[in-house]
Amino acid sequence: ATSCGIERTPSPSPNQTSSADGKQKISFVLDWVPNTNHTGIYVAKVKGYFAEEGLDVDIIQPGESSADQMVATNTAQFGISYQEGVTFARASGAPLVSLAAVIQHNTSGFGSPKDKQIVSPKDFEGKKYGGWGSEVEEAMVRQVVKDAGGDPDKVQIVTIGTADFLQACETGQIDFAWIFEGWDFINAANKGVELNYIPLRELSETFDYYTPVIVTNEDNIKNNPELVKKFMRAVEKGYKFAMENPDEAAECLLQLAPELDRKLVVKSQRFLASKYQDDAPYWGMQKKEVWERYMNWLYENKFIDAPIDVEKAFTNDFLQNGQ
Amino acid sequence: MNIKIKIENLSKTFKVNKKPLEVLNNINIEVYENQFVSLIGPSGCGKSTIFRILAGLEKDFSGNITVNGESIKASSCQFGYMPQKDVLMPWRTVYKNIILPLEINGKKDRSKKTEVENLIKEFGLEGFENFYPGEISGGMKQRAGILRTFLMESDIMLLDEPFGALDAITRINMQEWLLKVLVEHKKTVLFITHDIEEAIFLSDRVYVLSGRPAHVIKTLDIEFPRPRDREVLSSPKFLEYKDALLKALL
């Protein structure tokens, strides 16, 4: 069976045409707008690491919806996803494989304006949580409250869709929300709003999953390991550069995505520089326990019909220059 | 006798494709109360334009028009006006088209209803009340138009070639009806026709208009007494009138 349904042979993919200067043209699809999670990719592109490997990478921004299908079908050879997405994708048979954890630990958590005095999940009781409306999200919030000995039913969960956390807080519509430390938290600081922040990784091991991750599909790994190796070598180099030179890395990102807020990007980059590798022996390493723990939680809470084989969901084989 | 309509030095020039088209040139017409006045003249000379001006549908003319002693206002129409082209609403049945003026005046009461039914019978439209305009003949449309005009209940009627699509017999019936209305309802009628005999038979006075730009080239008072019957048509006086009008037209 081929990985992609429609008359498209996975290898060589028509998307892997050669560009004019003989480089192999491939597509990399983001999960969101470009941000500091993606810096390594941008560095690799700007600094010519991809070119050194003979690759010509188009970095593509999708719409509001996830781009996992594009990678699963090899429409794009590589992309950004997150552990939950890969788990769901694999549960439904899509052959996504995670190649690297961009950030070693989950850098998201619960943020709230200082004056709300929310410092532990127990304080969530009687407060309004603004979420984007996912059932998984809701279950996780309830879980952390329960873990902290609170009554999850006392948390009022309102869906704010795509509304911005800060705006929603400002107008008094919510009290706290799930935010990214390296993005929303820093944005709030920039805007002069003081926040309380409870990192998720401190609340539960289960929820310290990998987000985001770099993904490809099984076919590339099986039939095109050279390409994957080349690509990951450049990416790894990019992220290493970003760890060492956050300010210059931020410039690389801003060069290709100048629409972003410079102040935010620079600060965020400085924050993330130490978070990429964090306590891991090398950048991008993924642990089976992390994959398993969260997958099991999803299964126990009936979000997936059957456990998936996490061994197939990720690989560290293409890290550390493929050692 | 009161003067009902007084048209003084009426001139009108259209502008089409930036070129002026002089249509009316110093028209003077007087219509007295309960009089029947006809306009005749070559096709395209400007007869309908006079009516449209009276009805307030054309602005930009020069001259003076008074109706019942008052200058006409652009926004209101004091006439029962029947346009040359029969304009019926295609989405209304014949009956609904006819009673449109009653709807507009809010006079759709019971007593009216029987009056309208009788008129429909008299006009030979019985049985066609629920037909749509697309389903009746040209002459029937015209009769519906006349009836509608009558129901506008103004004491002055402007009729623009009302009998043009009617056969001889129906036309005679309609002429008789019109004369009856003239007497019974004390109406004043201004009438356009191409039928010279009709003009003479019906009118107290006939204005003959010249070709474009139209001016009055002859004013002929018809001195047959009222009520008239069709015998006048064969009187020598009638032939005299006819000759005079034909000569003026040629």
């Binding site: 069976a1 992609c4 349904g5 429609i6 008359e7 509001e64 919806s65 996830s66 996992d68 299908q69 699963a72 079908t73 997405g85 769901f88 994708a89 549960a91 439904s92 048979g93 899509a94 603004g130 409306g133 996912s134 059932e135 998984v136 969960i157 309102v158 869906t159 704010i160 869709g161 795509t162 509304a163 911005d164 705006q167 929603a168 400002e170 107008t171 519509q173 979000f303 | 009805a55 307030g56 549908l57 129409c77 006439f79 006006y81 346009p83 082209k85 304009v87 609403m89 295609p90 989405w91 209304r92 449109l100 003026p101 709807e103 507009i104 005046n105 749509y132 697309g134 389903e135 506008m152």
Partner: protein, 253 residues
């Protein structure tokens, strides 16, 4: 020959739809297309069965929004068209804003709308109405100025009031345009409700849609879309029915 504005025989269209579904089923099976790329109709149908209750629950929410939004949008559209065709100044001033309102990408302003009007029905209705009112208002406004000028003159000679000219002439003449607008709006109405759920909602087909999308349940996503389509078609059918009653004379014209 004089048959008028007919979307055609519903038998043919039903057959066409059935054939389309069968071809789709065969295609996905023959080509062995993965469910997450394009689920087979049978898989979608299966989803209807397994997630039936859930879909029903979400549907009810969205239908309510749609119906409310459609009615409000319709009322607004009629009101605006009346004003615009009655008062030139109003038209001059308002027409550009009406047009501009459509050029604003709802997806980006949806969060702002939430910020301004809060969560809940108001924000949702604003989005719904924004989507629905425009095609109706534009078509109706155009329609209200395409009447027979001879008939207008006639009515003026009867000293009909503006309201009477409107009711007896302009409105009937605008009906074809009006219904064109309604049909376009019908196609967008359910989508409008879906978008309105972006302003924050707990249930509704839009929520189900994003949830199934994010959890890679493509068949469920298609089941959701199918419901959206079916409800749109129902709305369309209703409008068609009303149109048939209203513009009956035109068949005869």
């Amino acid at each position: 020959m004089k048959k008028f504005r007919n979307i055609g025989n519903p038998i043919y269209s039903s057959i066409a739809v059935v054939v389309f579904i069968i071809v789709w089923e065969i295609f996905t099976r023959a080509k062995n297309i993965k469910e997450y790329i394009l689920p087979a109709p049978s898989a979608i149908l299966n989803e209807f069965i397994t997630s039936g209750d859930l879909l029903l629950h979400h549907s009810m929410v969205t239908m309510t929004e749609t119906v409310l939004g459609f009615i409000l949008g319709l009322v607004l559209a009629i009101l605006l068209s009346l004003l615009m065709s009655s008062f030139k100044l109003f038209r001059s001033i308002f027409y550009p804003f009406m047009f501009l309102s459509q050029t604003i990408p709802i997806i980006v302003v949806a969060p702002l709308i939430t910020v301004w009007f809060g969560f809940g029905l108001v924000s949702k209705l604003i989005v719904c109405v924004l989507v629905v009112f425009f095609p109706i208002a534009l078509n109706l406004t155009e329609g209200l100025s395409s009447y027979d000028k001879d008939l207008e003159e006639l009515l003026m000679c009867m000293n009909a009031s503006k309201l009477q000219i409107f009711m007896k002439l302009k409105l009937p003449s605008a009906l074809v345009h009006f219904f064109s607008g309604l049909k376009i709006a019908a196609a967008y109405a359910v989508m409008g409700a879906i978008m309105s759920e972006w302003t924050g909602a707990e249930s509704g087909l839009g929520i189900f849609l994003t949830r199934s999308m994010k959890s890679f349940r493509t068949a469920a996503m298609f089941a959701d879309i199918a419901i959206i389509s079916i409800f749109s078609i129902l709305l369309f059918g209703l409008i068609k029915l009303i149109e048939k009653r209203c513009i009956k004379w035109n068949v005869k014209g």
